[in-house]
Assembly symmetry: C2
Homo-oligomer: 217 residues x 2
């Protein structure tokens, strides 16, 4: 079977899922495809263009959720789809917000959320819409990024608290024992039990409530 942009992007995504974005190289992709490294440059200008390709494949999955009945359901669906896709492809979080997303599917989800938000109460003109889109996207990007980071450190240190105390503990517990960070200490020590998805949902509705509430100009 011949090479194609889609095939290259697909195996690149597979490799990135397995070994992260740092462990991804054109040489490994080419080897996985059974061709020389330079073959890829017949289909892709740059490594960064390949990245854009991979990103838009993920956005295609997000765009699949399509339109829902109400504006709020649509926004919620897109947000949750974004979170789910990012948790499936953790490298996506490394790129979220770090480059302009201009692929066709990225534009499609941008259009879907913008159109939905423009129908939200409290969004009266284009300026309101721009702010609302900005706030929502900022929250999604930051949330998902944080969750992936937490998951990574949890994986690298080991899930159980004993291994955690053994790896990050020596430094972190020493820091927290200084008493200079009492609130952070309380948060770290007995604040880890919260469900991630529930937290995401909770904060998401908080944001949406804030957006829809009419404010004085």
């Amino acid at each position: 079977m011949p090479l194609s942009r889609e095939k290259i992007a697909a195996t690149a995504i597979r490799l990135a899922d397995a070994h992260g974005l740092d462990g991804l190289s054109l040489r490994k992709i080419a080897k996985e495809l059974g061709v020389g490294p330079m073959r890829l440059y017949d289909y892709v200008i740059n490594k960064s263009e390949l990245l854009d390709l991979m990103v838009d494949v993920v956005y295609a999955r997000i765009a699949e959720v399509g339109q829902r009945s109400g504006w709020r359901d649509t926004v919620l669906a897109v947000a949750h789809a974004t979170r789910a896709a990012t948790l499936d492809h953790e490298w996506f979080s490394d790129v979220l917000g770090g480059r302009p997303h201009l692929g066709p599917h990225a534009l499609a989800v941008g259009e879907a959320t913008a159109a939905a938000l423009s129908a939200a109460p409290g969004v009266r003109d284009l300026d309101d819409l721009q702010r609302a889109v900005g706030a929502l996207n900022a929250f999604i990007i930051g949330s998902v990024r944080r969750e992936v980071t937490e998951r990574r450190t949890a994986r690298s240190t080991g899930t159980d608290e004993a291994a955690f105390q053994a790896s990050l503990g020596p430094y972190l517990t020493r820091m927290l024992k200084t008493g200079r960070y009492p609130t952070v200490a309380r948060l770290v020590i007995d604040g880890a039990h919260l469900n991630a998805e529930e937290t995401f949902n909770h904060n998401l509705t908080t944001i949406l409530d804030g957006i829809t509430r009419r404010r004085p100009t």
Copy 2:
């Protein structure tokens, strides 16, 4: 004058400010300091540890704002300091949320915001506090990241709209002309005039209002 972690971090920050994180290499730092590349490994274990060092230097600047009178003033001050520091050191946005911030100064600003938020109305228990901190940080991370990205593309394409139309235009305008993204098109075409700081401020107060509003459990 002898080498030191501080000196290495300082010149690394200077180079990263000038040429970005991708253009930063241990060899260049060493050359800038007039030593061999391997000398740096006497002061730093990894390149990633050096990055952590640089990050905490920036957090030190953020932590300088110190405590304000009310919880809201404190949160606003920290948020604006974070934004200002990131705009001064754009590479900081590439790292924001992408790794755990455990340096002493990072913990200090974490403590400051957490302590302030714990005094906010509507934050009743530790779970509320954790969610509030998460929402606020997510917003700040996402906002600042987006702003830096926009600034970068604006710089690479040229500020004026003619150059923009010439570089990204051929693709983007063709995409927008398809009519599949009407809302995005409206946002792009005449939505660029909004002031970034004002938008940040506006959305920040929106988030804080959402947090402080008491909700049913």
